[in-house]
Amino acid sequence: MYDMKALYEATSVEDAIRLLTEHPDAKIIAGGSDVLIKMREGKLAGAELVSIYKIDALRGISMDPDGTIRIRPLTSFSHITRDPIIQQHINVLGEAVDMVGGPQIRNIGTIGGNTCNGVTSADSASTLHAYDAIMVIQGPDGVREKPIREFYLSAGKVDLRHNEVLTAILIRKESYEGFQGHYIKYAMRNAMDIATLGCSVNCKLSEDRKTILDARIAYGVAGPVPMRAPSAEAAAKGQPVCPETVEAFAKAALNDVNPRTSWRASKEFRMNLVEQLAKRALKEAIRLNGGEI
């Protein structure tokens, strides 16, 4: 038995917003792989929960007429990995979420929960940052959109007010068209582990595959929230595809990050990973784009 005060099962987004408004202390539970574990540990003991897990309208991935990819927040990690739209256009996201926990966790864990809990190590978050994802949030006063970079406020805190629900994660056509990306999760073991550092890189090459037209990089665990490395991006944009560009890109990333020492790894080790993973991920992204390095 879980130590909860009450459970309110929402039947629609509007119903969830109403329940959250009526119960100002209630927390949202989606798949529960964070909330129920916190409850078991006693951190959320005695809490009221509003469950959105049964709202099937919040599941699945589709493409809008303008080419925007719409990922609904309750889509499980395993369904994202298997989705044909994701495989065709942002395969790196499917690969990244295939590294979360283990198989059963990937069946219950949701991408909305992974982002809304505000954790820097979330395997989906760096790739969503690197693709300029837009968070669609619904509240009592209507719908608002927020770029993911502004959505994360501080460690464990996102721009989601009490009676608001994330209803979609959007990736615009201009953000994915022509880009190929690669994600590296550095962890102590291959399954059931949390990233020591996560690095997601994607790039777009010129037609002759000799010049990097655009490159984007985002990290998890390189600071209190997932973050982009704009200096690294500037160092690669418009540069020739060559080892020197990759070196400069990785070195520049060090200017943007701020990892800390934790029981998992020291700051120094994480700084080394920031540089090394940037190199490896950019090389692989170039290779996926048909470039040679």
Binding site: D3, M4, S33, L36, Q104, I108, M192
Partner: protein, 162 residues
């Protein structure tokens, strides 16, 4: 106490019961239906001992609320048996390969193996390792479990097993 009616199909049989909303699916399967193949291990979704199939996908039932099972199709190891209590091929393979020692992790592993086998795909040894990585076994060292799953997969696909 806050309760809810849960109607679901368990091992092919339509059932219904009233549960405490605080109950996990493990609690419901063990206490209301006496399906004790569903083990209580870590109870935080790490060890896989409570793993069951819900609509054909594996879930750790310890971190799945019982009320969410409403309308779902649930399978446990008890459902693998034949009409006269015969073991299924995958259960027999676990015995033949000595993939069972204390047996506590076995039901969870078996249900993941069922999901793997029902996909009817041929996986490499490394892929199987990843697919089985959501389970902890402190006795066998995993090799015999991998052997049992790999051999059953090949037999079902008509591939010769040495």
């Amino acid at each position: 106490m806050q309760t809810a009616l849960v109607k679901c199909t368990i091992n092919g049989v339509p059932t219904e019961t009233v549960v405490d909303v605080r109950a996990s699916l493990t609690d419901m399967l063990r206490n209301d239906y006496r399906l004790t193949s569903v083990k209580k291990g870590c109870e935080v979704g790490e060890c896989g001992a409570c793993n069951v199939l819900i609509d054909g996908e594996c879930f750790n039932s310890c971190i799945y609320l019982a009320v969410w099972a409403d309308g779902k199709n649930i399978q446990t190891v008890e459902g693998l048996l034949g009409p006269n209590g015969e073991l299924s091929d995958i259960q027999q393979a676990f015995i033949d390969e000595a993939a069972v020692q204390c047996g506590f992790c076995t039901p969870g592993f078996l249900m993941t193996a069922v999901e793997i086998l029902e996909s009817k795909k041929l996986y490499t040894r490394d892929e199987l390792r990843k697919l089985l990585s959501g389970h902890l076994c402190r006795c066998t060292g995993y090799e015999n479990i991998l052997n049992a799953v790999e051999k059953t997969m090949k037999r079902r696909l008509g591939i010769p097993v040495e």
